[in-house]
């Protein structure tokens, strides 16, 4: 039985599944339910400074992007940080941590970008007995208009400055949460490291307008006929998050810095992928907000069974294993040649592979053979692009298969050498070097 216990910058939890700072972690009632359901930890919804609480809109806060059968693929929100009184939150955090000593309790914080504000809040959070803090430098809407959240996260110098204050005025581990609404995610990550952060977490939500009401032409969620941009998350955001996590994991300056992976984690597979790309654990929000807390049971069971099957005894056994395989395009092996193969027994003859290849790609899939409906790859046209695999409704019906060295690529007429060769030495590259640089 795989050991799912997680140790993230010294913070221990029975499994690597935390709930991200968001509505599910706004109060004791929800967090107690989450812990009962089996979640390893929570990041309490972001606290602001003492004083009159934040005000939220009183109309819709969320909008959804649907897939087939109204499956929620993407989600956005215009909710702000907690709108509950600071003292109430602190009291509840302390009580819940006492009730659940084995679970991770992280407190998310966002206060104005001045030293006094941070100096004021850190001790009162520390007094709760929480295991650590997460700096909300990511919230892209509302708070950012007031110089907080993403407004800080988009300026590396501010990140470094605030992280430094937090390390100076608190003994708690600091996790710096990054916004994806930047050009190069490595810059804020490097700044957080320079400030002394213990870890980064990412991604926060992405700037988004989820949809437009075509009756009144209001962006949604619509507040009295108007809409504001919101923060986008959910399964559709996962690829963006994976890329950013990987960029930080493989960056020379931040290599080895602990990462808490966030962004569309919905199943154990998503979690395993984030962790393989360098995340030490994952945080979940949208999936819980879509299905409730029970989904963690599937995540625990699925991850555990997969680890057993693959012989990974602990999380560390596979954590970061994919990082070394993330490469710049220029180092990809141009002599690796694959062709699509259609399993005729699995094929249901929908013809989608044919029409997408015919209309939009390489005219490499025939539609009939001997006068009958039949879909088969033409090796002399197939460039191995994977479009057909991507659109096929039947799993494993179309696969990409590598041409063995020595065989002939019918498209080019050349023999497959099996030698590694990349763009850096390719004759078509005006910048080509005489000897190939090895992949990193």
């Amino acid at each position: 039985m795989a050991d799912l216990r997680n140790n993230f910058v010294g913070i221990k939890s029975p499994n690597p599944f935390w709930l991200a700072s968001a509505p599910p972690t706004d109060k004791a009632y929800n967090v107690e339910r989450a812990f009962k359901a089996g979640w390893g930890g929570v990041v309490w919804k972001t606290l602001g400074e003492a004083g009159p609480p934040i005000v939220n809109v009183n109309g819709p806060r969320y909008g959804a992007l649907y897939g087939a059968d109204r499956r929620l693929l993407g989600f956005n929100n215009i909710e702000l940080i907690t709108d509950r009184d600071l003292q109430t939150n602190l009291r509840e955090i302390k009580q819940v941590k006492m009730n659940w000593p084995d679970r991770a309790m992280i407190v998310s914080i966002m206060v104005p970008c001045d030293e006094e504000s941070w100096k004021a809040i850190l001790p009162v959070v520390e007094e709760t007995g929480a295991d650590g803090i997460e700096l909300n430098f990511g919230c892209p809407h509302g708070m950012s208009e007031r110089g907080m959240g993403a407004a800080v996260g988009q300026v590396p110098e501010y990140i470094e400055m605030v992280v430094r204050w937090c390390k100076q005025y608190s003994r708690m581990p600091v996790i710096t949460k990054l916004t994806p609404n930047v050009t190069d995610i490595r810059k804020p990550a490097r700044a957080a490291k320079a400030g002394g952060t213990d870890a980064v977490s990412l991604i926060n939500t992405i700037n988004s307008i989820i949809s437009v009401d075509l009756d009144n032409f209001s962006p949604q969620p619509s507040i009295d006929g108007r809409g504001s941009h919101g923060g986008y998350c959910g399964p559709a955001a996962k690829p963006i998050a994976l890329h950013m996590v990987a960029e930080i994991a493989r960056d020379a300056e931040t290599y080895g810095m602990p990462i808490s992976g966030i962004g569309g984690v919905t199943t154990w597979r998503d979690a395993a992928e984030f962790m393989a790309l360098g995340a030490g654990n994952v945080q979940v929000c949208t999936a819980a907000m879509t299905y409730g807390f029970k989904i963690v049971e599937e995540m625990i069971s699925g991850l555990s069974n997969w680890m057993d099957e693959k012989g990974h005894a602990t999380l560390d056994d596979f954590a970061g294993r994919a990082v070394r395989n993330v490469s710049d395009w220029q180092y990809l092996n141009l002599n690796y040649i694959a062709k699509a193969r259609i399993d005729q027994d699995l094929c249901i003859s929908c013809g989608r592979c044919h029409i997408v290849c015919e209309d939009t790609s390489h005219q490499a899939i025939m539609k009939e053979k001997d006068g009958k409906r039949h879909f088969e790859v033409l090796d002399n046209e197939c460039v191995g692009c994977n479009l057909c695999v991507s659109v096929c409704p039947v799993e494993d019906c179309i696969t990409m298969e590598q041409l063995a060295p020595g065989s002939i690529d019918e498209r080019t007429g050349r023999i497959v050498t099996g030698d590694y060769a990349n763009w850096t030495t390719h004759p078509n590259n005006p910048m080509a070097k005489p000897v190939a640089e090895p992949a990193e």
Partner: protein, 445 residues
């Protein structure tokens, strides 16, 4: 409970009054919006879709389902009606399990096709309820076309001809237009007077006059029509019924299944319709099933279908056979009628003989069985009710070419009365539509 349930002989009111409405309600209740959206999401939008190719009217099924899924049911209805102006009735009566749904790739994938028929009904119902018309007439051409028969073939032909600007007169023998849609389909397949609503919807394009009670060979002749019109389309169906060729079939209680079905469809009070306690239906097609199931639904105690060949030879679809079985109809294969037994001129039973194939031809085995019956319905096929009025016939039907042209100049034919194609509503629509296009080409050349 109904005290008449076990009344001997032929009697009305076998069921409690409320049960009739239950028994004859919609066989497949329409999809609500949510169900339609869930089902539409199952469509893969196949290339050169097998369902489309399996549809006799070539409705662009993937396109109309995609239109439903994007919240555009009127667009879906237009896609359907472009190919099949009787798409509403076809959605109800098509044997989809043998046509589009059998071809659906999800049959191959998981044995459960997209419910194409119900989706088609969803879209067409919305358009018809909104009285949304998608087609307008071309400028009047001044050409006159006569259409004989206001059934699926005739209506489809008339609509297409009117659309092209021709003036159409439909002559129909019955009191009401609609043909088999009105008179020949089980009640639970076409509820709420849908056939008449569809006639109104189709003719709303304008340029179509329907004259009912006009019988070919009695009130007018084909020669009259060709003399007074630029073209004639014959879609008169099969008005005659094959005889059993069994001894004693003149007995009281031996009836044509099509008459029983028509009478039931036209009845205002089902409780007043007499039905036998024991009913035998002879035949193996849709008509036999419709008659047998409805006999059962009217409260008949024992209903038996006797078919002279095997299950695999039945013209009724497997779904229809299962439907009959689920309603308690006993289907007996390889049994042919030999003799109707009567007492005081009324049928009391039928003698059947087991059959078998000998060198490919059907032979009686000599082994016989007596089945008690108060009513015997004949459903062994219909015949052309005209001598052809000079047209060349083939196999008892009006001979036509691929475009629906008959042996006579200016005369086209389609639907059940003509050669070619299965005797299905949807096939009749396709033939009527295509003949109209052929007529139009001739008229405009």
């Amino acid at each position: 409970m109904a005290e008449g349930l076990f009344k001997e002989g032929v009697a009305a009111g076998r069921l409690a009054p409320s049960q009739y409405a239950d028994n004859f309600s919609d066989l497949h209740p329409p999809l609500i919006r949510h169900e339609a959206l869930v089902e539409a999401d199952r469509c893969y939008f196949c290339y050169d879709a097998p369902c489309l190719n399996a549809c006799p009217t070539s409705i662009d099924i993937p396109l109309f389902i995609r239109e439903i899924s994007t919240g555009n049911p009127l667009g879906a209805a237009e896609t359907i009606f472009e190919q099949n102006i009787l798409g509403g009735m076809c959605a109800r009566v098509c044997p989809t399990e043998q046509l589009c749904e059998e071809a659906c790739v999800r049959m191959e994938a998981e044995g459960k096709p997209v419910k194409i028929g119900l989706l088609q009904r969803y879209a067409t119902d919305i358009a018809m309820e909104e009285e949304k018309q998608f087609f307008t007439r071309a400028p009047e051409t001044g050409k006159q076309v006569a259409v004989v028969g206001a059934g699926p073939a005739g209506l489809a032909a008339a609509h297409r001809l009117a659309m092209h600007g021709h003036t159409v007169t439909i002559l129909d023998a019955r009191e009401k237009a609609g043909g088999l849609n009105e008179y020949g389909i089980a009640s639970y397949k076409s509820t709420n007077d849908f056939a008449q609503a569809e006639v109104d919807y189709v003719t709303a394009i304008g340029g179509i006059t329907i004259r009912t009670g006009q019988i070919l060979g009695e009130h007018f002749s084909l020669a009259d029509l060709t003399r007074d019109h630029d073209a004639v389309f014959l879609g008169l169906g099969l008005g005659g019924v094959n005889a059993l060729r069994a001894e004693g079939e003149a007995a009281e209680g031996v009836e044509n299944a099509v008459d029983f079905i028509a009478e039931l469809r036209q009845a205002t009070d089902l409780a007043s319709l007499p039905i036998g306690r024991r009913v035998v239906v002879i035949g193996g097609g849709m008509t036999a099933i419709d008659a047998a199931v409805q006999a059962k639904l009217l409260g008949a105690d024992e209903v038996t279908i006797a078919y002279r060949r095997g299950k695999e030879n039945m013209n009724a679809s497997e779904f229809e056979q299962d439907l009959a079985a689920s309603k308690g109809v006993n289907i007996r294969h390889w049994m042919a009628p030999v003799r109707v037994i009567s007492e005081n001129g009324k049928v009391i039973g039928i003698e059947l003989e087991h059959t078998t194939l000998v060198d490919g031809s059907l032979k009686g085995t000599g082994d016989r069985a007596l089945v008690a019956a108060d009513q015997v319905f004949k459903a062994i096929g219909q015949t052309l009710a005209t001598d052809g009025e000079g047209l060349i016939l083939a196999g008892g039907k009006i001979e036509v070419d691929a475009e629906g042209k008959t042996s006579m100049a200016k005369v086209w034919a389609g639907g059940d009365c003509a050669t070619g194609g299965d005797d299905l509503t949807v096939t009749a629509v396709a033939e009527g539509r295509d003949a109209a296009e052929s007529i139009h080409r001739m008229l405009m050349s």
